[in-house]
């Protein structure tokens, strides 16, 4: 029997809402699959689409983006900007032949620990059903891009960013 595929999902959270929702899920001991690894940003508006591509190229099977509900942004309206980028990014991913479901945008306020945990659970199962992403040459090219190695690759990276 095949071993169950365990996807890796990178989650980008907003410092003011969804990261706090994740904290709340913890405080309330709400369980969700350990396949997600979270990164804290100050605002979902900080999300550069490069981050998503970097994560997918580096071996992640899915990316969750999470911010404050529309109208509740800590920085007034920056979550609308991530919404725009997200919609564009999904189109780009489709053109690259990547299932757009691998990248998901979820609104979660600081009070919605349960909701965030549910969304994570649903997403992990969806990605599990999709199977591994297997981005071409996922493990070799990235390693040379790490800051240890060369400064040129970083120049390129920033240029994209």
């Amino acid at each position: 029997m095949d071993e169950l595929f365990e996807p890796v999902v990178i989650g980008f959270t907003c410092n003011w809402c969804s990261y706090r929702a994740a904290d709340l899920a913890g405080t309330a001991r709400i369980k969700y699959p350990p396949n997600i690894r979270l990164i804290r940003l100050m605002c979902s508006g900080r999300l550069d689409p490069t981050f998503v591509l970097k994560a997918l190229a580096g071996g992640a099977d899915g990316v969750l983006i999470s911010g404050c509900h529309p109208g509740e942004c800590h920085y007034l309206e920056q979550n609308y900007k991530v919404l725009r980028r997200f919609l564009l990014l999904r189109r780009v991913l489709t053109q690259l032949g990547i299932e757009p479901q691998r990248v998901k945008l979820v609104w979660a306020s600081a009070a919605e620990g349960v909701r965030l945990a549910q969304e994570i659970t649903i997403m992990v199962e969806e990605i599990r059903a999709l199977g591994p992403l297997n981005w071409p040459a996922a493990d070799t090219s990235i390693r040379t891009e790490s800051p240890v190695v060369s400064s040129e690759s970083l120049e390129i990276k920033e240029g994209i960013a």
């Binding site: 913890g26 369980k31 350990p34 309206e77 390693r143 400064s151 994209i160």
Partner: protein
């Protein structure tokens, strides 16, 4: 990036994995995580990795400090609880050991790992990934200093209700200048309209008007009534505020407030504001006799002279020649260091609750109308009478939660209605001897002496019916209902439907945000919840600050509140402002974006993204510049800059991209193929 920072060999990283008693260690094999980091991340600069029972304890902190000194650590990663809990603790520990506090990274393996996962192996593997992400990220951290911003000693208070009055007086009493802006002709707010205040039943005017007079005469308070803030520029410590001082048509230096003009003015106007539509004022008026300031205003839209070009009666009779029909609106520019918003609330338009018949059935009153009706200085001299102005009601029904706790209107509890309705019940009983029914869902009397007041009203013989009123109607069906209002309600305690005929219905109408709250919030750079109330910085631990530094919100502007809470908040905001003024400067977290001018192409994409107007475009040099004091550090511009010319401290591209690599374990050296990873 011109210089490579994250080079291993240059940086010496210490990794500290916390057990948090059994909170983390019960699920995550912390020892294994520490050993893994020491071995597999050695080539990434990890010099030492330890696990310890409680990292946040003084012994745990000393461990880090000792290692920094003895091992010459240049970067610290602590894997423990959420950074929202202990980031500051470990930053300060680093600082004590002589390391810049911003070279420390706290990653969460408790809230986001051990507390939410049950599979111990998976949780341990995830903890390794999280630590790895932290190590990669911390290599890109920069030593930073907090930003110091000077604080202008003057303060702007917007709104002259009780909360704003309290804030203004506290600051002015400490000897610092205050501008109090109020859009109505007089300060006093809603409280000035009330007759009695619960639970002590002292008269609102008796306790409020002395405060109003203190404001009016205070040497440090500049009162700007009949004025509105039209523009706010700048940032904490240094706001430039534009105030439109509407034309009063009165020379205030000549006016003595004698009131002859109001007597002589021939034009009677229904007073929709102060008298809630129950009384009349003149076209030249002060809203109430104790108004502060005492100068009247001329209401141009009702004044016969402004409308028809003749009259000028006030001018003829004014003994000091203070009337000036030529006056224009004035724009004032103020410099202030802090802003306190105390803009108050509106009542829900009771007409919207169609089933209660307000506006259609004459003897349905709103709570504010009843306040005026029962006020000794009100249109009926305090006589509680029906809309005809003479008949005393024999039976009165008071409906709680009218539009509150109702998903058709406002979901929230308006906080004051229970006590207000109890007060109404007492006043009706005391003054008319009528039978009083209170229709409630729950009675909420949580504050000091509130429940005692409820007991008192119970003992006075007010009848309490638990149930949300379905309808108020004048369609009589049964004998005794003719020419009366019938309240249809399910009495949920008795378990039956009841029809209760009454003469007068009072609706305890829901409080809601000012009609222009969202616009005002935008002007001051703060946000409102979906209900429209101003969002506080933290609902429990910082209920008076907002997310915008230097802007505070107190009283009903940020949610329904009674008078004691509004006063407490006004005073609390004043204390916060005074502390800053005393310090003369404020230290801000250095999470900021900045533009590298040589890389900026002047495309201006970032200019429109900033909601705080922190990005300034220099036309001459064709580059954008970010004002560090205005920037709040969201990073949206960093993400959007196509040239990569904007970088954001604490959340730079390198930091986040490296953290992604770390989380995906692209950095770990394989013990068997260690040579694969170049160091």
């Amino acid at each position: 990036m011109k210089q490579l920072k994250g080079q291993s060999g240059q940086e010496r990283v210490g990794v500290y994995v916390c057990h948090c008693g059994s909170n983390i260690a019960g699920v995550v094999d912390v020892q294994q995580v520490a050993e893994w980091a020491a071995e597999r991340l050695e080539r990434r600069g990890v010099v030492i990795a330890r696990d310890y029972r409680f990292m946040c304890s003084s012994l745990g902190q000393e461990l880090i400090e000792k290692d920094i000194k003895e091992l010459g650590l240049t970067r610290i990663v602590v894997a423990a609880c959420s950074p929202h809990l202990h980031e500051q603790t470990f930053r300060i520990a680093c600082q004590r050991a002589g390391l810049n506090p911003y070279l420390c990274e706290l990653v969460s393996i408790r809230e986001q790992n051990s507390w939410v996962h049950e599979d111990k192996n998976a949780a341990t593997e995830k903890a390794k990934a999280i630590v790895s992400g932290g190590v990669e990220r911390v290599l890109w951290h920069e030593p930073l200093e907090p930003l110091h911003v000077p604080i202008h000693p003057a303060t702007l208070v917007v709104g002259g209700g009780i909360a704003g009055i309290q804030a203004a007086l506290e600051i002015a009493d400490a000897g610092f200048p205050v501008y109090l802006v109020e859009r109505e002709p007089s300060i006093g707010g809603h409280m000035a309209q009330f007759d009695k205040t619960f639970p002590t039943l002292d008269c609102a005017a008796c306790i409020l008007t002395p405060r109003m007079v203190s404001v009016g005469t205070h040497p440090h308070i500049t009162m700007l009534t009949w004025s509105e803030v039209t523009d706010v520029q700048g940032y904490v410590g240094n706001f430039t505020v534009t105030v439109r001082k509407k034309a009063r048509y009165i020379k205030t230096d000549l006016c003595t407030g004698c009131g002859i003009c109001q007597e002589k003015c021939p034009k009677k106007v229904l007073d929709e504001d102060f008298e809630a539509g129950l009384g009349y004022r003149k076209a030249i008026y002060t809203p109430f006799p104790q108004a502060v300031p005492k100068y009247p205003v001329i209401d141009g839209s009702n004044c016969t002279y402004f409308q028809k070009g003749t009259c000028r009666a006030c001018e003829k009779f004014c003994p000091t020649g203070a009337i000036d029909f030529e006056q224009q609106d004035e724009l004032l520019t103020l410099q202030v260091g802090n802003i306190i918003l105390a803009t108050g609330f509106d009542l829900l338009d009771a007409r919207r609750i169609a089933q209660y018949g307000y506006g259609r059935l004459a003897n349905v009153f709103t709570s504010l109308e009843f306040e005026r009706l029962s006020n000794a200085a009100g249109p009926t001299d305090g006589n509680i009478v029906l809309r005809d102005g003479v008949t005393t009601p024999r039976t009165v029904g008071i409906i709680h939660c009218a539009g509150s706790r109702d998903r058709n209107f406002n979901n929230y509890c308006s906080a004051i209605c229970c006590m207000q309705s109890l007060k109404f019940a007492h006043l009706v009983k005391e003054r008319t001897g009528a039978t009083v029914y209170n229709f409630y869902i729950d009675i909420r009397t949580p504050a000091k002496a509130y429940d005692e007041f409820y007991q008192r009203v119970l003992e006075e013989g007010t009848i309490f019916v638990r149930g949300r009123v379905a309808e108020v109607t004048d369609a009589a069906r049964l004998p005794g209902e003719e020419n009366r209002l019938i309240i249809q309600v399910e009495d949920t305690l008795a378990g039956l439907q009841r029809r209760i005929p009454v003469d007068m219905v009072i609706l305890s109408v829901s409080l809601q945000p000012r009609w222009d709250a969202k616009e005002v919030a935008k002007r001051f750079g703060i946000s409102c919840s979906s209900d429209g109330w101003i969002i506080e910085k933290h609902p429990k631990l910082d209920p008076i600050a907002t997310m915008t530094e230097g802007v505070f919100a107190v009283g009903c502007a940020q949610g329904p509140k009674d008078i004691p809470s509004s006063v407490a908040q006004g005073a609390a905001a004043a204390a916060r402002v005074l502390a800053r003024i005393q310090q003369q400067e404020i230290a801000l977290e250095p999470v900021r974006a900045s533009v590298e001018e040589s890389r900026c192409s002047g495309c201006r994409i970032c200019n429109n993204l900033c909601p705080f107007n922190a990005i300034l475009f220099h036309e001459d040099r064709m580059v954008s510049e970010i004002n560090a004091a205005l920037c709040q550090g969201c990073g949206t511009c960093v993400a959007a800059c196509p040239a990569g010319a904007i970088s954001g401290t604490v959340f730079s591209n390198e930091q986040i991209l490296s953290q992604i690599e770390g989380l995906l374990l692209l950095n770990q050296s394989e013990p068997t193929q260690a040579e694969m990873v170049t160091a």
